[in-house]
């Protein structure tokens, strides 16, 4: 049997909904999917900040999400190697080349800044796309819907201002 090389947004969306149900259920993890707490947990640990008030608050969620993210890395690597066959070392995404520049150094520097802002912002808000939007909006949580609304508007505004030749 030949597996399709890509999942469209409909099968992809349905599969993601099934995974959310399983994760929330008592047979799964009895908690939502989340990612950014895990990254903050790693940062706090590597920089020796485990005695802080914040680390104590996030040890439970953070440690769970670290294990989750290790699974994510394995799933992504497996799929890119064997199903979509897209595994490749690369630095500049095609769309960056088209709408920003052709410099690997610039892309690496902006990625660092972008990644920094993503996690700092997610921790201020208390969640990211996974925790606030995917899991939050699924629960009709007002916090997740506010976050999603703000994030979509600012995402599109930044896209307008940061990139060129649109």
């Amino acid at each position: 049997m030949q597996l399709p090389r890509r999942l469209g947004w409909i099968p992809g969306g349905i599969a993601l909904a099934l995974l959310i149900w399983f994760t929330f259920s008592q047979w799964g993890a009895n908690r939502p999917i989340g990612a950014s707490t895990g990254i903050a947990y790693m940062g706090a640990w590597f920089f020796g900040l485990t005695d802080t008030q914040y680390f104590q608050q996030i040890t439970k969620s953070g440690s769970w999400e670290v294990i989750f993210l290790i699974g994510v890395l394995m799933g992504g690597a497996f799929t890119s190697l064997f199903i979509t066959k897209t595994f490749k070392f690369r630095i500049i995404p095609p769309l960056w080349r088209k709408h920003k520049n052709n410099s690997p150094l610039s892309r690496l520097l902006w990625s660092f800044i972008g990644g920094f802002l993503v996690v700092f912002g997610a921790r201020l808000a208390g969640g990211c796309t996974s925790g606030h939007f995917l899991s939050g909006a699924t629960q009709t949580a007002v916090s997740g819907l506010i976050f999603g609304g703000v994030a979509i508007v600012v995402l599109i505004l930044t896209g307008r201002l940061f990139y060129k030749n649109l």
């Binding site: 699974g71 799929t79 897209t86 095609p94 997740g144």
Partner: protein, 200 residues
């Protein structure tokens, strides 16, 4: 600084085993399936996520809204049956708005977020790896500054869901809510970014 990875993993695994949120193999499986779905749909790429910020392709929001629509209706009834619970984050208004703005600026530039980023790293994107390092440093800085940042993250309006607001009409509301999310998914333009041959 503490880069003792053996210590890191043994402590982390120990912390997870003390919780009632699934065994290590189960959590790894949930993560594996998440990575599989995201990578297989190819929504873990700069082109798909920053492409949405540039309004060039809509696969990411279509997939997100569809899964929220389906999952919200099912989860509501799973909770009614006692099979699951809500886990609601509080409305910390200052943090949500300021954090949402900073997060989205970063997401448009990096082209990924904390859940999809690791998938992009796993398929070989070196730029996203530097983004992940930036994120880890941001997490450390946030932890360090938290006592001061706490002040601007409030006021806390508590944990509120829309189904709560609709009380006894919640059953009807959740159907309308779920259908509206699915409708948004279908109404968003079908435009998608063609993947360039050189990239894959």
């Amino acid at each position: 600084m503490n880069f003792n990875l053996i210590d890191f993993f043994s402590t982390t695994i120990d912390l997870v085993q003390k919780q009632d949120h699934g065994s290590i193999p189960l959590i790894l499986t949930i993560g594996f399936l998440f990575g599989l779905i995201i990578q297989w749909s190819r929504v873990d790429t700069f082109d798909k996520i920053a492409g949405f910020a540039m309004l060039k392709g809509f696969k990411v929001p279509k997939m997100l809204f569809l899964s929220i629509g389906i999952a919200s209706i099912g989860l509501f009834f799973m909770i009614k049956m006692g099979w699951a619970h809500y886990h609601i984050k509080p409305i910390m208004l200052g943090g949500l708005i300021l954090g949402g703005i900073i997060f989205a600026i970063g997401m448009a530039i990096l082209g990924l977020c904390p859940g999809t980023g690791p998938v992009a790293v796993s398929e070989g994107n070196i730029d996203v790896l530097t983004g992940l390092i930036g994120g880890i440093i941001a997490g450390a800085l946030f932890t360090y500054l938290y006592p001061d940042l706490k002040e601007i993250m409030g006021p806390d309006y508590g944990k509120l869901t829309l189904t709560q607001l609709f009380g006894e009409h919640a059953d009807w509301f959740i159907f309308l809510y779920g259908l509206a999310m699915v409708a948004i998914a279908f109404l968003l333009p079908n435009r998608e970014i063609e993947e360039e041959v050189g990239e894959v």
